[in-house]
Symmetry: C2
Subunit: 196 residues, 2 copies
DNA sequence: GTATTTACCGACTAACAGTCGGTTTATCCT
DNA sequence: AGGATAAACCGACTGTTAGTCGGTAAATAC
């Protein structure tokens, strides 16, 4: 590989690593660009050479965290057989992962605020969010739930899940809370199950 | 009334009015305290005499907008007879009110971001959010839906509604989108209806 | 081996939240 | 009344931080 590209990639990664840690622990607003530069062992000017603004750094971090999260969730969902059961399992995992610490801070708290709702939704749809519509479609095809417009229902459910995740994040007894919400979500899904 | 109190109230209101307009149109981050002071026709120091921080100003505005919103929604919900139907109607109204412009900006975008999730939840529960658990409880008492833990279910539904409202806000054809989501929400509620 | 493009540096600027000593206006007390 | 106290208001000032800019070092192109 060309030396220049290596150098660029290494610096970029150093910035991202530093920023991810700082954003995750302190939050977006409380983290300064000087801090990031210092943690990445470069000058501030270099950071701006790689990212146009502080928000751009956050977006890159956000994207990375999202990707990691999706991989984790996919693993949990694949184990289930029924599409609806997979949805429930994936959701439960989503709770667990986002509820605590850095991931939750980046994805649930700062994410929408920093990126703006539009952009957040867009990125989220590319990762986690896109899975729900697909699962619902499959469930309808399989006759598990009544046929109806997919997109609106998917968005409602995504909102429900996100809200629950955030609610979990703010509680001391995460495990108990997560289980509670998972049960409620399951009951919602089960209610949708077409009546025989 | 004592003159001092009048003066205080008048200035406070001037600040709130100015801030509400500016926050609503430009958003929290893009609005400066100097702007607010200028629009309220007072010096910046006076604003800080009434509110400790910029966030405090926002919180007061948020509270005011929330109160107005609840009144509006209550009117729409009261017309319905069935508790579930009232929930659907109230929700539909919530979409319409928050979807466009200032209200949505303050309640849905900046609200959680500025106040932080904990505080947002707290205030929201005092206003709109508190209605959902009560409605669900009533629905269970009336045997309209199966008895189950109220709080988690309420939170899921609140999340769903909020998400839908935000989704509506970002679309050109608000009316159509709102109707779409209202239909999806109704189908969700109807699914919960206890099977006879 | 010279020219050009790319990565990096760090002092500087602009903008903004919040402060503080001072001034004006109302209220209290005798 | 009128002097003392307190509350409302003023606006210049400070500290912090995102973003800039002219310049240097390292790599690549010719």
């Amino acid at each position: 590989m060309a030396k220049q590209a290596e150098r660029r990639a290494a610096t970029s990664e150093a910035i991202l690593t530093a920023a991810r840690r700082l954003f995750g622990t302190q939050g977006f607003a409380a983290t300064t660009m000087d801090e990031i530069a210092e943690a990445a062992r470069i000058a501030k000017g270099a950071v701006y050479h790689h990212f146009k603004t502080k928000e751009a750094v956050f977006e890159a971090v956000f994207d990375q965290v999202s990707r990691d999260l999706v991989v984790e969730i996919d693993g949990a969902a694949r184990a289930e057989k029924d599409v609806l059961a997979a949805m429930v399992a994936g959701t439960q995992h989503y709770f667990a992962a986002t509820a605590k610490g850095p991931t939750g801070q980046i994805i649930l708290r700062d994410g929408p605020a920093v990126l703006g709702w539009e952009r957040w939704r867009e990125i989220d749809a590319r990762h986690f969010g896109g899975k729900l519509p697909r699962a619902l479609s499959a469930a309808m095809d399989a006759g598990l739930i009544a046929r109806q417009p997919v997109e609106p229902l998917a968005r409602l459910l995504l909102g429900a899940v996100t809200e629950a995740a955030v609610a979990c994040a703010g509680r001391a007894d995460i495990a108990r809370a997560g289980a509670e919400y998972a049960r409620a979500f399951k009951s919602l899904i089960e209610a949708l199950r077409a009546r025989a």
